[in-house]
């Protein structure tokens, strides 16, 4: 059993979820509070990464990020960022692909808060930022949790985009989902089963801990 893909998977899932969390909050906040007419268009766009088959999306990304291309070249030359066949690329691709899983629940959560909470905070001289961080977000915990769980689980299981942009390089971009896929493809069902089982169990435990923490089980225990 090769442990590297599993380690890589959880590293990818954690990094992706963290970045998504940070990126999605301002987007969701803007979407939930704007009265702009282009809002429905942007709301729709956020969901669009889901619509293409992952491998195909990955292929388009591969073309876009390839250093042979204006954009990829610019990234490479001026920012020194290489997005293909690298862990960084996996992260970027996963972030783009899982964006709707984080943005949408957060947006729905924010929309359902009573507006007086926000207003009360403003009249206390608190900035929009402070209000968001200290008042709004802490009061939509179920939605944040949904976003985190969906993004995390989805990144763990994703392999189409990741395979395309990552190139299945052992220790670098070969995540567990690819490894399992390979084993199934190679008809090594026993190996696939053990990988699956481990991936499944570890993720199960992680998510269970998240839910237990959220449900206050540990706090109750500590008292």
């Amino acid at each position: 059993m090769d442990w590297q893909p599993l380690v890589l998977t959880f590293k990818l899932a954690v990094v992706t979820t963290a970045i998504l969390f940070v990126v999605s909050i301002p987007i969701a906040n803007w979407l939930s509070s704007t009265k702009s007419k282009i809002r429905p268009v942007l709301e729709t766009l956020v969901s669009m990464p889901l619509v293409l088959p992952p491998t195909v999306l990955g292929f388009y990304m591969l073309v876009a990020f390839s250093p042979e291309n204006a954009f990829g070249n610019w990234l490479n030359e001026y920012l020194g960022i290489k997005l293909i066949f690298s862990f960084g690329g996996l992260v970027v691709a996963s972030v783009i692909y899982s964006l709707p899983f984080m943005v949408q629940p957060i947006q729905a959560g924010l929309s359902s808060l009573p507006s007086t909470l926000k207003e009360a905070s403003y009249t206390m001289g608190k900035s929009k930022m402070t209000t968001l961080l200290k008042i709004l977000l802490p009061n939509i915990k179920p939605s944040l949790l949904t976003g985190i769980v969906l993004s995390f689980a989805h990144t763990v299981g994703e392999f189409g985009v990741v395979l395309m942009i990552g190139g299945n390089m052992p220790g670098k971009t070969k995540v567990a989902s690819i490894a399992i896929y390979d084993e199934v493809e190679a008809l090594n069902y026993a190996a696939a089963n053990s990988y699956s089982l481990i991936l499944f169990s570890v993720t199960f435990v992680i998510l269970l801990l998240v839910y237990l923490t959220n449900g206050g089980y540990f706090k109750r225990f500590a008292q």
Partner: protein
């Protein structure tokens, strides 16, 4: 000095209602907005505090212009230094009572105010509780205390005391007066309770259908300075009892019930629940603290 000159079209009971308001409030004054449900009291306060954008007009506070549709000025709520007690409390569900108060602290503000306010509003024992576990009255006390934390220049109270029991109500009225005097903050109250209004406020504005229809000092407004030859009380008939040829009518005046003897002719005109006037020509009262 606060000068409001505002126009705003609202969706009201009978279709559209135009709120068209001229109001001047002296600095440090305690002012009450009085009026029927739906008259536009809350909307006025929301515009003053920057939470609702007027269609046109100006808001001037002291030397500063907070809003002017002509000059395109519209200060954010954050810049307006207003303490606001909301009708629905708007307590932060994620914070306990103490944290709700602490959140309102301004940068570098002395934290002593928290203890002081917790004491005053009798929240010391409740300070670790989350809002959802509080009773209605407890929530209102927290909302009030929280609005006072930042020692705002203007304090806005949208029916802050309506859900409190009498004891707590009187205590908080006292505190409002004290705070108002100590920090000289301009206070704007919405209240339906005349005793409360007269006790607390310097002047009263009555709103009807989005306009000020009557204003005056609290004493003028409710006729406090009218010296009357007779004493009169208005009250409600609670009970009408026949005793021999006479009727004994129980009338509730304030919290007291008095019994008035009346002849059948008079009594016939009355029924339980009527508002009545009880007057007397000779009344030599003694006053006594309780």
């Amino acid at each position: 000095m606060i000068r409001l000159n505002l126009k705003k079209t609202l969706q009201s009971a009978g279709g559209k209602m135009v709120l068209d308001l001229q109001l001047t409030i002296e600095k440090g004054e305690f002012v009450t907005l009085f009026g029927e449900s739906g008259a536009g009291k809350t909307s006025t306060l929301r515009m003053l505090s920057g939470l609702l954008r007027p269609d046109s007009g100006t808001i001037e506070v002291g030397e500063a212009t907070w809003f002017s549709s002509q000059e395109n000025i519209d200060l954010k709520p954050q810049q307006r230094k207003v303490g606001y007690v909301f009708q629905d409390y708007a307590l932060f569900p994620n914070m306990n009572v103490r944290q709700n108060l602490e959140y309102a602290l301004q940068k570098n503000q002395d934290r002593a105010i928290i203890e002081e306010l917790l004491e005053f509003a009798e929240l010391v024992e409740l300070q670790q509780r989350k809002p959802e576990t509080l009773s209605g009255g407890q929530k209102q006390r927290v909302a009030l205390a929280r609005a006072l934390v930042q020692r705002p220049e203007i304090l806005i109270l949208d029916e802050p005391l309506s859900a409190l029991d009498l004891k707590m109500r009187i205590k908080l009225q006292e505190y409002l007066l004290k705070v108002h005097k100590k920090y000289k903050l301009t206070t704007i109250l919405v209240s339906h309770d005349i005793a409360e209004i007269v006790k607390l406020s310097d002047s009263v504005f009555e709103l009807q259908n989005g306009s000020v229809v009557k204003k005056g000092t609290a004493t003028d407004f409710f006729g406090l300075n009218k010296t009357s030859a007779k004493f009169r009380f208005s009250g409600e008939v609670l009970k009408i009892q026949k005793e021999d040829v006479l009727y004994v009518i129980s009338v509730l005046i304030g919290n007291d019930i008095i019994r008035v003897v009346s002849d059948p002719k008079e009594a016939e005109l009355l029924k339980v629940g009527d508002q009545v006037l009880v007057a007397s020509k000779a009344f030599n009262p003694i006053i006594q603290k309780i």
